[in-house]
Amino acid sequence: MRKLPPVDVVLVGFGWTGAIMAQELTDAGLQVLAIERGAWRDTPTHFPPTTAPDELRWYWRKEMFQGNARDTLTFRNNRDQVARPMRRWGSFLPGEGVGGGGVHWNGQTWRFLPSDFVAASHNTARYGALPEGMTVQDYGVTYDELEPHFHRFDKLCGIGGKAGNLRGQIIEGGNPFEGPRSAEYPNPPMHMTFSQDQFIRAARELGLHPFPGPSANLTRAYVNPLGCQLAPCSYCGFCEKYGCGNYSKASAQTTILPVLMRKANFTLKVQNEVLSITRDSTGRRATGVTHVDVDGTRYEQPADLVILCAYPLSNARLMMLSGIGETYNPATGEGLVGKNYCYQVMTAAQVFYDDKFTNGFVGAGALGAAVDDYNGDNFDHAGLGFIGGGYIANWTTNARPIETHRTPEGTPTWGSQWKAAVADNFLTSTTVGAHGASMAYATNALDLDPTYKDVYGQPLLRMTYDFTPNDRAMARYMSERTTEIARLMGGREVKVVKREGPYDSMPYQTTHNTGGTIMGTTPANSVVNRYLQSWDVPNLFVMGAGVFPQNAGYNPTATVAALTYWAAAAIRSQYLRNPGPLVQA
């Protein structure tokens, strides 16, 4: 093992949170090293418009995602089953390489609701005790505290949208349920298409409050506060699962790296995988990390501050592999690392038209209209048997021919009739979907697999997950609400896509895996404190959606980014002056 010269800060992983953290801490004058296990990637060299829209290469052959021949995870629905490795990604698609999953996201940029951050105390106060087995808790940070940081991310990305709550004043045409914004979106909303017009009309007929979806696909040429240039979206419909070739989607590459990569106090090391966090003899102080390069050479990298910026599943696993904190055991309820793994529950209804063209090829990852009337605690849950909810939206994200072809109820799943139905409906159908929250339960968790190992001989992460009673009740309700809107959208017929049976890890649902390194108010209920600082090792911080104690009914990126800015501000203003615990246990 070769020992390398020390740095002030080492970042493990270099996607959205790594780039934001690096930008903030290099600004503070620190020497920052980011270690990324994937490769360098940039727009003109890796996903220019000549190769970006290649369905086979990027999605079906998974070139855009974490390679699971070297490291994957094992999956089971419950503790009675034996977990098996996911040899091919399905239900979710973890990113790898510079920019992480932020390269292949859709760009739907939501803020969680104020009540989402206090889900336990809010719901308990309104509806009484949480059901048996539900382990929902408060984040330990509030929406108001995060608002300036949400705002910074909006400006960084040039988010397009329409504010519905400007400093407490409700604005017509925006989302009236959202937390107060300190300013209007930096850019106007995306252009709506025929499908969104139908959705908006139908939602209004039902007395709901439709608004344009918040978008990180740029609605006009934009120069962000760092001077980085983002170009207007061309509505090509290759966002989620693809890199944007036109500089039109906010990512680390388009918003931060042009500035960060020029800094003398920043170093990026790619194709090096961190194997462990090292600690001193007290176990209370991280001394750095060990990592391995593609030739198999191992290094010891000393650092004063270690910040985990990898995907939530990888952050949780690295904590377990390094023996920091006790891994959660669902049988006893002991331990915290790996606890409260959550996902999301998607339900949908498809609308088919006879003679109206939806033209999904004029699409973008965050081109859509939504209602938030059934999200969080925006509606009365009395007697419904669940808490939480989700937004319901009509997005026109794409018409990618291999992936997206809706067929009406009763169509065979293969053969000439299927082909004919695909052709008939390709340009004349759309989907309304609900993006449902996921409440934590004691049974769903992450730990290390006892059998399967990665290429370096380290145990794989094991995921134990199934839909919960709350998920199922919520999904039924959301499906009904979604179908109500779909039926009013003027189509020939509506097909309801039900979410039934156990969670299946193969069909794609969403890459919003959360929990495992959860935040909270005391060392007894969380892995990190409100500043995302490890309770056990104060010079270790953990970013990412792994800190969510439970998942809300929104896409997580903006909340992840706001928490990163929030943690960076705490490091700059408090920790650097007085290194140690920022919250006394």
Binding site: S234, Y247, T254
Partner: protein
């Protein structure tokens, strides 16, 4: 330990020598600025190596010349040069040993610089870290390798002399003329050359070609290549590397990166004032390409180009260059248009605009005939009326670039 002491003593001796020559902080800073106006770093630095340590190959039509090390290194640099030696080189093109310099070093432009400015550059270079690094030998064929030949060249094409202001013009115009034709040496690329590589003064700044790039007409007066740019847009381009009409790529990217982005707005404005005063002869409109070529070009353009450059060629100003009215696209010389289609292009990242917005290469995707068609189409559409591009021109440039890359 003894070796270390000796090394320290040697360093001390060096720095004493340095002290004798360097003057005040402000003189060094003045020199830094003047060196920037001359883009000295662009030629005298191999990207990624120590500034001014030389060795960068300069391809010329006559062979490759390597810019020398101009740090004050004793052996391989100019550490033994006096201020008079330096002045002789910059002002007259004569090296310390009396050798004639090749005009790849633009002394025909630098001769306009006053002695005080040249001295300041000397003081600045003297204050930089000294790096011992030999430049590779030049590869000029005989008789060009015979430097005394340059005496004759100078007799014919070189008039030494410090810039003399034109009293009939404003101080701003004079400052601009001095910067453009003196240290800025814009004509080195943007003025066409005669058979022996000297500027054709009758075509001053009306466009030239070097190293397989067409440097466009940069006159801003009547019929000039950038007559449609405002003064503010000229300044913006030189400061940030882009404006509503275009973005800098290739050699101009270096000029902006090392030189003009570091210059004051007042100096850049002065350059704009001067360029504005220069008219060009009217261009005759070329006859449009055959309908079949236009149809093919239009279809290729729609599929490959229109997402960024827009169906009507208006692009996204400051992001993706508009092609309608573009100085590069309309250039009678199609080399740059073809080359960008073949190789792609990268807008220069600057302090003001750090994003290197880039266009991908189409060499792997389009045939010579397809590139010729789409180049002809954009050169003959939306008000552009530049001559058609032939398949053989594309083929020959593709081949030349391939060979250049192999070297």
């Amino acid at each position: 330990m003894r070796a270390l002491l000796l090394a320290t003593a040697a360093l001390a001796a060096l720095s004493t020598a340095g002290l004798a020559q360097t003057t005040t902080y402000s003189q060094v800073e003045r020199g830094r600025y003047i060196a920037a106006t001359g883009n000295c770093q662009g030629c005298h630095t191999v990207p990624g190596e120590a500034p001014y340590s030389g060795g960068r190959p300069m391809p010329t039509p006559f062979g490759t010349i390597h810019a020398p090390n101009i740090t004050f290194a004793e052996r391989s640099g100019i550490g033994r040069w006096t201020k008079d030696d330096f002045w002789q080189a910059v002002h007259r093109g004569i090296g310390r040993d009396g050798q004639r310099l090749y005009p790849a070093f633009p002394y025909p432009h630098f001769t306009k610089m006053p002695r005080a400015d040249v001295d300041a550059v000397y003081d600045y270079l003297a204050a930089l870290p000294r790096v011992e690094k030999e430049s590779p030998p030049n590869s000029l064929p005989f008789p060009l390798s015979w430097r005394r030949l340059m005496a004759g060249w100078n007799l014919l094409f070189f008039t030494p002399g410090v810039y003399q202001p034109d009293p009939a013009r404003s101080p701003e115009w004079n400052r601009g003329a001095y910067l453009v034709d003196g240290p800025g040496h814009c004509g080195a690329c943007h003025t066409d050359k005669n058979l022996v590589g000297a500027d054709r003064q009758s075509r001053h700044l009306q466009g030239g070609e070097l190293d397989n790039w067409a440097a466009p007409d940069i006159r801003a007066g009547r019929n000039g290549g950038i007559s449609h740019w405002s003064d503010a847009e000229i300044v913006e381009y030189l400061k940030s590397g882009r404006n509503a009409h275009t973005a800098a790529v290739s050699t101009m990217a270096e000029v902006i990166s090392y030189s003009t982005q570091l210059m004051t707005e007042a100096d850049l404005s002065a350059m704009a004032v001067y360029l504005r005063s220069l008219d060009s002869p009217a261009r005759s409109a070329a006859s449009p390409p055959a309908e079949a070529v236009m149809t093919a070009g239009r279809d290729i353009y729609a599929d490959n180009c229109s997402a960024c450059h827009k169906a009507d060629g208006t692009g996204v100003p400051r992001f993706f260059g508009p092609l309608a009215g573009s100085n590069k696209v309309r250039d009678p010389n199609p080399t740059t248009v073809i080359r960008i289609l073949l190789e792609g292009a990268r807008s220069v990242p600057t302090n003001a605009r750090p994003t290197p917005l880039s266009m991908p290469s189409y060499a792997w995707k389009l045939t010579d005939a397809q590139i010729a068609a789409v180049a002809s189409y954009v050169r003959a559409s939306w008000g552009n009326a530049a001559p058609e591009v032939s398949e053989s021109t594309v083929r020959s440039l593709r081949q030349t670039l391939k060979e250049a890359e192999a070297h």
